[in-house]
């Protein structure tokens, strides 16, 4: 009996301690920051924004998550939401958040000047802030870049000479879907289907992420593939001898497929003025701090890309039509499924 009450007392003490420490780590006693950001972009944001806080005196807090989940959370929280800024990757996601009325339009001459027209919402509900290119990569021991089609490099990979030499990402990956959505937008559904069928006919090897894909090309398991430029930059930073080269796709045609990370002011924000200030800062003074760490391209033409990706050379990008990326994504998924692309 005594032993049992001892156990009970210990359990009660532990529970109390847990509850108390639970409150401590909750941040309930801490002072909240001026701005709260929901972000589906996770790359070391705190570091980039210390500069913003230093310059403006506005403190920022981040909550990282998955884009679709964060959006559902915004919807459920409604006017109670603590979030002021919603930041996410992929133009389709931005378009969808705006469509669902979760973003408030802002009127900013600074942003209109800093962000090219195709990288922002016509109504000012979201703005692209960093640019990523999805282009062709190859093993220089196995491929002469002259073999690649310069007019439509993505479609060129359907040529039978690439049979058994091609590596790409899976159909569940947003990168793949957005590329195919842009091909549908560009060429129409029929031609896009021919291209995807052509990749499948070439026995495309499906890789489960971009790093694995680049390593496969480096090791010679594949000769050519499609990847985001910053993954290559990241691997080259670690190992300058990596046996993978970048080819800017479709330079004599529509240009290389690109996508954005971007942000908008949350409709339920109670601090939209400072939220707008934050987005303006990222698009102007904060461009390098925001994009360089992840080797992305600045959206603002006035900012220079960091040296490592500057070495990839200038390139022409396919204009981004966020609405098309958003609306055609479902069609892209169906098309990939029907083509037997895994």
């Amino acid at each position: 009996m005594r032993r049992r009450s001892l156990v009970a007392a210990a359990a009660a003490a532990t529970a109390t301690a847990l509850a108390v420490s639970g409150c401590g780590v909750l941040g309930a006693g801490e002072e909240a920051a001026d701005l709260q950001v929901y972000s589906a972009r996770h790359y070391d944001l705190e570091e980039a924004f210390t500069e913003f806080t230093d310059e403006t005196g506005i403190s920022v807090e981040f909550l990282y998550g998955d884009d679709a989940e964060l959006l559902e959370r915004l919807k459920a929280e409604g006017d109670d939401t603590p979030a002021d800024v919603y930041m996410t990757v992929d133009a389709g996601n931005l378009w969808n958040a705006a469509r669902q009325d979760e973003l408030a339009p802002i009127d900013s001459a600074a942003l209109d000047e800093a962000v090219p027209e195709d990288l922002r919402d016509p109504e000012g509900r979201w703005y692209g802030l960093a640019l990523r290119a999805r282009t062709v990569v190859y093993n220089p021991d196995a491929v002469d870049p002259a073999e690649l089609d310069t007019a439509d490099t993505y479609a060129g990979l359907t040529d039978p000479k690439w049979k058994g030499r091609l590596c790409m990402r899976d159909a569940t990956e947003a990168y793949t879907q957005s590329l195919v959505a842009s091909l549908i937008d560009l060429h129409g559904e029929e031609r896009a289907r021919e291209i995807v069928d052509g990749w499948v006919a070439n026995d495309v090897e499906i890789m489960s992420n971009d790093v694995l894909l680049l390593e496969a090309i480096d090791s010679g398991a594949c000769d050519v593939g499609i990847a985001n430029h910053y993954y290559l930059a990241r691997l080259l930073e670690e190992d300058p001898d990596l046996n993978v080269d970048l080819f800017w796709a479709s330079q004599d045609g529509a240009g290389t497929h690109a996508n954005i990370s971007g942000a908008g002011v949350v409709a339920g924000s109670d601090n939209s003025e400072q939220a707008q200030k934050l987005i303006e800062w990222v698009a102007t003074d904060g461009q390098s701090a925001f994009v360089d760490g992840n080797h992305e391209f600045p959206v603002n033409p006035a900012a220079e890309p960091e040296p490592l990706i500057a070495e990839f050379g200038e390139f022409k990008r396919m204009p981004i039509n966020a609405e098309a990326y958003g609306e055609r994504n479902a069609a892209a998924i169906d098309l990939l499924a029907e083509a037997g692309y895994e």
């Binding site: 420490s21 909550l63 679709a68 559902e72 459920a76 496969a216 998924i333 499924a337």
Partner: protein
């Protein structure tokens, strides 16, 4: 366990149990009500999502290729079910019936694969065995580029990997059954001249069937709700379909309609489990037996047993851990400062606190339910108790959104009633939402374990206590709790491990500034910083090993008791 064990079945209702429930009348209203309240609370988020999905006027839309997704899901579940049954059941038999080198350590090491989160596993396995990995690289350099290897990224690959990591559910339950449930009956069979093999197949295995079924049900539900491993292996299950529709078509309504389909699979699994349990009406009475005598294996057989066990452990635990270690060391050499990240301690405390609270809550509720069922109460109470286990079959993200929806509705209702501000930011402003969602999701493993414990307690014990005038509360603390204590330990461990690994719920519902170790891994892994993610991933594994170690204490003490009996 030496007390006579009877397996009363809540749905089949054998004569004894019927008598028991007549004696107990309609149960105790307060306790019965408690079960119903728990069931309603647990079902609310799931119901909220389903209502949200079908309330729209658009009708039902199913994605293209749904038939194939269903077939793939069935194939995967069958494969993983068979794999875990063979590996988990086989190993449980091996360590119970035989003695071989390293057995005493391996007995508990075999639980470790449970500690490995699914969202790490897929990448680690593919980066090791796929075309760009070191294994195929070595093969290519040894045999030339033409060397053909079976496709790793495939249904078969997924079945192997998931079987190697999920078998501990079956192993744990089967081991407990072999070691504790059956000694007397086994002895009787042997005395009557049955060979060891015959006694195993004809006596032990049927007796262990409810436990095997319970473990298998957990495996199936884990398989069903997995998004991460299947995506890595390119296996398009219905859950991947949910993900595609939700993230790719931005159509949450259709996605939740599809997750209702996932729920139907779960209903089938649980019905199957009840069926498997329901037919098992082997009453074991009287007598403490010596039980299964563990035969000492000698020579090559002994080493073969050790090697087989190590091979399973190597695949499910050692390979991923070593790979992670290699990355972590590489990263630390490159950047030693990352080891002393000040946020580290915070994350660790957060993970531990939430997992502990969730485990305690789940176990208390499971005990209350098991106890109430024992007091009687009829079909409604039995069904209510069963309904609480469905949460495990719903993907974490869906439960999280269900919690959001339920609280949003409550908030709106309160505001409509004139409460200023409604609930405010209760769900996402504190850990309350996370804990609630954890209980919804993890009540199943806790209840499965506790329920299996109650199954071994003879109703006559409860009835004796009742007829001697003990109050329900006294019966709980003085009779039931002491008898099911080993199962309570198992329940605590299972929930703690699951909660430490859990990602989608905490990611969705956490308040600002609240980061757990699993979120930390996710932030790095989602950006493909695998080398930096390796260290926190190992921390999760280490955190999960702690409860496993406690469980080992349980296993060892039951082993020791077993040995004492044998040696006497």
């Amino acid at each position: 366990m030496t007390q006579p064990a009877v397996l009363p079945d809540p749905t089949g209702v054998p004569a004894r149990a019927r008598r028991a429930s007549r004696m107990a009348g309609a149960g105790r209203p307060a306790w019965s009500l408690l079960v119903v309240v728990i069931a309603v609370l647990v079902a609310t988020p799931v119901v909220a999502v389903v209502l949200d999905a079908f309330a729209g006027s658009r009708g039902i839309t199913l994605p293209r290729g749904i038939g194939e997704m269903v077939l793939t899901t069935v194939a995967l579940m069958f494969g993983v079910g068979l794999g875990t049954l063979v590996i988990g059941g086989g190993l449980a038999w091996l360590v119970t019936a035989y003695r071989f080198p390293l057995r005493t350590v391996l007995v508990w090491l075999l639980v470790l694969p449970l500690a490995m989160p699914a969202y790490i596993l897929g990448f680690v396995f593919l980066s090791t065995f796929d075309v760009s990995g070191p294994v195929q690289g070595a093969l290519r350099s040894a045999f030339g580029d033409g060397v053909r290897v079976p496709e790793v990224r495939s249904l078969g690959g997924a079945v192997v990997v998931m079987s190697l990591t999920l078998y501990p559910y079956v192993y744990l339950m089967a081991r407990a059954a072999f070691a504790e449930q059956a000694p007397g009956t086994y002895d009787a069979a042997r005395t009557l001249g049955a060979s060891r093999a015959r006694a195993f197949w004809k006596v032990l295995l049927p007796l262990a069937r409810p436990s095997l079924a319970a473990g298998l049900a957990l495996v199936m539900m884990e398989t069903l709700t997995d998004f991460a491993t299947v995506q890595y292996f390119g296996v398009k299950t219905v859950s991947v379909g949910v993900y595609l529709v939700w993230k790719g078509s931005w159509d949450f309504e259709s996605a939740s309609q599809l997750s209702a389909l996932v729920l139907m699979f779960a209903v089938a699994v649980l019905a199957g489990e009840r069926l498997a349990r329901g037919r098992a009406r082997y009453h074991q009475k009287g007598g403490r037996g010596q039980g299964l005598e563990a035969v000492r294996l000698t020579g090559w057989r002994a080493w073969a047993a050790t090697a087989a066990t190590l091979a399973v452990l190597g695949g499910g635990f050692a390979i991923p851990v070593l790979r992670l270690l290699a990355w972590a060391v590489g990263d630390l050499v490159a950047d030693p400062a990352s080891l002393v990240d000040p946020r580290f301690a915070d994350y660790l405390v957060n993970s531990t606190v939430v997992a502990t609270l969730a485990a305690l809550a789940c176990v208390v509720l499971s005990l209350a339910m098991g106890h109430s069922l024992r007091l009687g109460g009829g079909a409604v109470v039995r069904w209510a108790a069963q309904a609480t286990t469905f949460g495990y079959a719903v993907p974490g993200a869906v439960i999280g959104i269900g919690v959001l929806l339920a609280f949003a509705a409550l908030d709106g209702a309160l505001e409509a009633l004139g409460v200023p501000g409604g609930t405010g930011l209760l769900v996402t402003g504190s850990v309350a939402g996370i804990l609630y969602a954890y209980v919804v999701r993890f009540l199943a493993p806790a209840y499965q374990a506790v329920d299996a414990g109650f199954a071994k307690v003879s109703p006559s014990m409860t009835l004796s206590a009742m007829s001697l005038g003990a109050s329900p509360r006294r019966i709980l603390t003085r009779v039931h709790l002491p008898l099911v204590r080993p199962s309570v330990a198992v329940a605590l461990v299972l929930v703690m491990i699951d909660a430490v690994k859990e990602l989608p719920i905490v990611l969705l519902l956490r308040p600002f500034g609240f980061t757990t170790v699993s979120v930390w891994v996710y932030e790095l892994a989602s950006e493909n910083f695998w080398e930096r993610a390796a260290l926190p991933a190992l921390v999760i594994v280490a955190l999960a090993v702690v409860p496993v170690f406690f469980l080992f204490g349980q296993v060892r003490s039951s082993d020791a008791g077993h040995r004492r009996r044998v040696e006497r």
